[in-house]
């Protein structure tokens, strides 16, 4: 192996990996390229640049090529499974798969292959989407930088000294590094949107209940939501329609038609937002936000206005309490959800040498199997639910949650969508916040309210920050089951942004040097 291999990046260099999912899908459907060729191109790129990015925890070359072959056969027979048949995808390692391990970025589940497929994985397979592998994440989705993965951090393709966001940093990095044109993330407090923002990609948290949680290893059941990630709004929309829809295996799944998000994305691409009322959340984007983020947001709002949207300022006075409420509710639920990891039925077992009691084996396993952030949240949640503290912590947090939901209801009485920066800062450096949990938690300041209220939200790239050249995200929020509004506004903004720039945003991703 040579000491330094320069790997060309971007659409111009390796044609297939540079294309959007919608373009790949069209070429595969037209027979211009086979799913196998597309899949092989992505697998080759993964092999070449993974040492620099570490987006994946598991890649199954043969299984991916087999899936691609099946997609090609189905197309040849005139029975393609879906509009995305044959297009490769990176799946966050928190969704169960029967043919690949599912670790959640934790030692606790190292090497565990589930006996059942998550509904999301099953729908992807049924749609002929080619799953390349499982992506890295903060352990059990707890974190905003992917540094909490037990298997080492993922690096941001824009600057490999920086974090790719979290918890779904593997999925966002895989997109930004052109390792996959599509990815699945999960979003409990911002784990789809914040990584999308800091890697210049698109990430959507659908309405709570819009996508089945069956097989999504729970962090916080009332907040977790799987969603689509892509490099374009249209790609995310096409993926959204594959994975969304009622699932009888998930009681919290919404039994209603899936919003027509692909049609909305196509409509939005025309760039006409006349008649759309956009609310700027007054409480987000002021003091404490990085200058480049504020500038980018102001420009984005101007762009929306120029597209014909009617922009007004809206106050959501309880959003400032969202972070506090979140860090009581999410740890409370996690303390209960993660109790099942007790070495009895699956996963890690430590110290079972015949001399120790069941309790000792459970304790040792949990001590060694969980990382520090997971332990911190289990302890926080156990405390918050304890008798004598429940009302003051968990109970109070639920009241805040109700107030935040009412803020949204009031706001959506005035406007069709709300906008804010996705995150207060661009990607920070690896290691910078590991010893400062509060600073880390602030990365999700703007994204958390939509998890608490259960409404839909998207992060769409909003250019680069002047001071560090790192991507910034624009967050768009819509009422529950009005996910289509995100796509219309997001696609319109995306088109206007690219039109204003000489090269599209992701063409500016730097080359990755692989040692």
């Amino acid at each position: 192996m040579s000491s330094t291999t320069s790997v060309p990046d971007g659409p111009g260099s390796t044609e297939l990996t540079g294309l959007a999912a919608s373009e790949l899908a069209a070429k595969i459907a037209a027979g211009e390229v086979s799913a196998v060729e597309v899949t092989r191109a992505h697998l080759d790129r993964i092999e070449a640049i993974e040492p620099a990015v570490h987006a994946f925890l598991h890649v199954d070359r043969e299984a991916a090529l087999d899936a691609a072959r099946r997609a090609d056969e189905q197309r040849a027979n005139g029975t393609p499974a879906s509009p995305l048949a044959g297009v490769p995808l990176a799946l966050k390692d928190v969704l169960t798969t029967t043919d690949m391990p599912t670790t959640c970025g934790s030692r606790m589940l190292e090497g565990w292959t589930p006996p059942y497929d998550s509904t999301v994985a099953a729908r992807l397979r049924d749609a002929g989407v080619v799953v390349l592998g499982k992506t890295n994440m903060d352990e059990f989705a707890m974190g905003s930088s992917t540094e909490n993965s037990a298997f080492g951090p993922t690096r941001n393709p824009w600057d490999t000294d920086r974090i790719p966001g979290g918890s779904g940093g593997g999925s966002s990095a895989a997109l930004a590094a052109f390792e996959a044109p599509l990815a699945i993330g999960t979003d409990t407090g911002g784990s789809i949107r914040q990584p999308a923002a800091v890697t210049g990609t698109v990430g959507v948290k659908p309405t709570y209940g819009g996508v089945s949680r069956y097989g999504l290893v729970a962090f916080s059941s009332s907040l977790d939501q799987a969603g689509p990630c892509g490099r374009t709004v249209l790609d995310a929309a096409m993926l959204h329609e594959v994975i969304a829809g009622h699932d009888p295996m998930d009681s919290t799944s919404v039994n209603a038609p899936v919003p027509k998000v692909t049609a909305a994305a196509r409509e939005g691409a025309d760039g006409d937002l006349r008649g759309v009322r956009v609310g700027v959340v007054r409480e987000f984007g002021g003091e404490g936000y990085q200058q480049g983020v504020r500038d980018s947001f102001r420009t984005a709002v101007d762009t929306l206005t120029s597209l014909g949207a009617e922009v007004v300022e809206v106050s959501c006075p309880h959003f400032e309490y969202a972070l506090g409420a979140y860090y009581l509710i999410a740890p409370s639920e996690c303390s209960s959800n993660l109790a099942r990891f007790d070495a009895m039925r699956y996963g890690l077992r430590v110290g079972d040498d015949g001399t120790r009691s069941t309790e000792e084996v459970m304790s040792l396993t949990r001590e060694q199997g969980f990382g520090p952030e997971v332990k911190r949240r289990i302890m926080l949640g156990t405390y918050a639910l304890s008798s004598g503290y429940y009302d003051a912590y968990y109970g109070q947090a639920q009241k805040v949650r109700t107030l935040i939901t009412r803020d949204f209801e009031a706001a959506f009485g005035q406007v069709d969508v709300l906008v804010s920066p996705t995150t207060p800062t661009t990607a920070f450096r690896i290691g910078e916040r590991v010893d400062d949990p509060m600073a880390m938690y602030r990365a999700d300041l703007c994204t958390i309210p939509s998890n608490l209220a259960g409404n839909a939200a998207m992060s769409v790239p909003s250019g680069l920050s002047a001071e560090d050249g790192m991507p910034v995200g624009l967050q768009i929020m819509a009422p529950a089951m009005a996910d289509d509004r995100l796509y219309r506004v997001g696609a319109a903004y995306e088109a206007a942004r690219d039109a204003a720039s000489e090269v599209s945003l992701l063409d500016r991703v730097p080359r990755l040097e692989v040692a």
Binding site: R213, S251, T252, F341, S386
Partner: protein
């Protein structure tokens, strides 16, 4: 531990204290599938063969509520005269135990599906005592641990444990009484009578197998004492999983005596779980209640609230069968039973069996006599419930029919029933196999009569002299000689005829 010899006499307990009871009964519903998944709900299958990702608590798996379990819960509530919640939720009860797959039990906490009712319980003397029902809620059962190598299957001292998750996720209804006060000396009896009445009720509704021996009905008895003349409740103990009706009564009585002895000595009652030992009739200390019993309940976020519509509730009310107390009243009237006869019937748990025997063609009095007398005795000898005997009401009805036709004597009939109880087939098969038949052939009987008269000349003389009651001895001798196969009535006729009395 307190030895029985040292503990206070029961009458003395009652002179000094008033008992307060609280009974928690867990009932496994006999739904086709488990509470939150599609696995079969069946007892006795090979270990770990009725399991799936949901009831094994696999990461990512989610519960879905079994609608027929909710239906059963509401029906039970209605039968117990309870209110049905307009809106309620499941909650997670968090604690670690190896046979609990998720390390939390999906249960209900402060929002039970039904609440505030009561059950009228008939006591041994026919008096009725109303037991208040605090609430009944839905939850899932745990798996089952078998501890190997320790004493008596308890975890203490065991070398290893085996886990069977077939039971994990089986639907349970927990029925909790209000504090039962004012029971006085009858507290233990009321405890037994309540659980028995509840068992009968649930069985008549067809919602559960209600088998205490198989654990489909389990009772925990909370007992505390209040010194006479004082108000408020004393510290309680909870005696777990007492597994027969008689044991409930014994356990409550023992706890009353044990607690009274401690209180009398100035000791404090420790709030704890206790185990009842069938062989000694005593309870012993289990785990201390105050140790880490903070279950950190919170609403189950994986399930949506349940809001039974009033229309549905009324529809379910319409599906309730005749309640046991209504049925008792009807049967008493139809069969013309005295209060005492009815009580004996109920106490022997024979009502269903007698009714079924009557339905199969027998007369109520014959049917009652067989079940309450002969068969109850057989059940007692075998230490099983009457209903567990391997004879069916149809078989009893057939035997009664044969007696009525004169084809069996009562003695022979008992022989036939015994054959059925030994699993030797239908009554007619037992009769055929054993060559049982009433000897009514006069010529063979006549010889036996003549022989008996010759053997007892004194008796013969008395009969001839008009003392017909002396015929009994001769009839007895003939019956003995024919090994009971003769028709006693016919024998008597022949004896009297031979002595010139007819």
């Amino acid at each position: 531990m307190t030895a029985v010899a040292e503990i206070m006499d029961y009458d003395e307990v009652l002179r000094r204290f008033d008992p307060v009871l609280g009974l928690e009964v867990h009932v496994e519903l006999s739904t086709a599938t488990k509470m939150f998944c599609g696995c079969a709900n069946e007892f006795g299958a090979e270990p770990n063969t009725r399991v799936c990702p949901v009831c094994l608590g696999m990461p990512g798996a989610l519960p879905v509520v079994n609608g027929s379990a909710v239906e059963s819960a509401i029906r039970i509530g209605l039968a117990l005269d309870c209110q049905v919640a307009e809106w309620c939720r499941f909650a997670r009860k968090n604690y670690f135990y190896p046979d609990m797959p998720k390390n939390f039990q999906t249960s209900q906490y402060d929002e039970p599906i039904v609440f505030d009712g009561g059950l009228d319980v008939v006591l041994d003397d026919g008096e009725t005592f109303r037991v208040g029902i605090e609430r009944a809620h839905m939850e899932e059962d745990t798996g089952k641990s078998s501890h190997v190598g320790g004493a008596s299957g308890r975890i203490h001292g065991a070398e290893h444990s085996l886990l069977d998750y077939n039971r994990a996720g089986v639907p349970l209804i927990e029925i909790v009484t209000k504090p039962i006060t004012g029971a006085g000396e009858r507290a233990p009896e009321i405890a037994r009578a309540y659980v028995t009445a509840l068992r009968d009720l649930l069985r008549s509704m067809g919602v559960s197998d209600v088998r205490m021996d198989q654990g489909s009905l389990r009772c925990d008895a909370n007992v505390s004492l209040t010194p006479k003349g004082e108000s408020g409740f004393g510290t309680r103990t909870e005696t777990k999983n007492v597994n027969s009706f008689r044991s409930i009564e014994r356990a409550v009585r023992f706890e009353m005596r044990r607690q009274a002895s401690l209180l009398e000595n100035g000791s404090e009652i420790v709030q704890e779980t206790r185990h009842f030992d069938e062989s000694t009739g005593e309870t012993s200390s289990g785990r201390r209640k105050e140790e880490a019993e903070d279950y950190r309940y919170f609403p189950e976020p994986d399930l949506v609230p349940i809001a039974p519509s009033r229309e549905w509730v009324e529809q379910l009310r319409g599906t309730l069968p005749e309640m046991p107390w209504e049925r008792r009243r009807r049967v008493q009237e139809q069969w013309g039973l005295s209060d005492e006869e009815l009580r004996d019937l109920v106490n022997a748990s024979a009502l269903d069996l007698v009714a079924a025997t009557v339905d199969a063609g027998a007369s109520p009095s014959e049917a009652r006599s067989w079940w309450v007398a002969y068969l109850s005795q057989r059940a007692n000898e075998r230490g099983v419930e009457l209903a567990e005997l391997s004879v069916t009401p149809a078989q009893v009805a057939r035997v009664i029919e044969l007696v009525g036709e004169g084809k069996l004597t009562h003695k022979l009939a008992r022989q036939v029933i015994d054959g059925v109880l030994e699993d030797r087939g239908e009554p007619d098969e037992v009769i055929a196999a054993d060559g049982i038949e009433v000897v009514s052939d006069d010529s063979s009987l006549q010889a036996a009569v003549d022989e008996a008269l010759a053997a007892q000349p004194d008796a013969a003389e008395k009969i001839r002299g008009g003392k017909v009651q002396a015929a009994g001895a001769i009839v007895g001798a003939v019956m003995k000689a024919t090994q009971g196969q003769a028709d006693a009535k016919r024998v008597r006729e022949l004896v009297l005829a031979a002595c010139g009395q007819q």
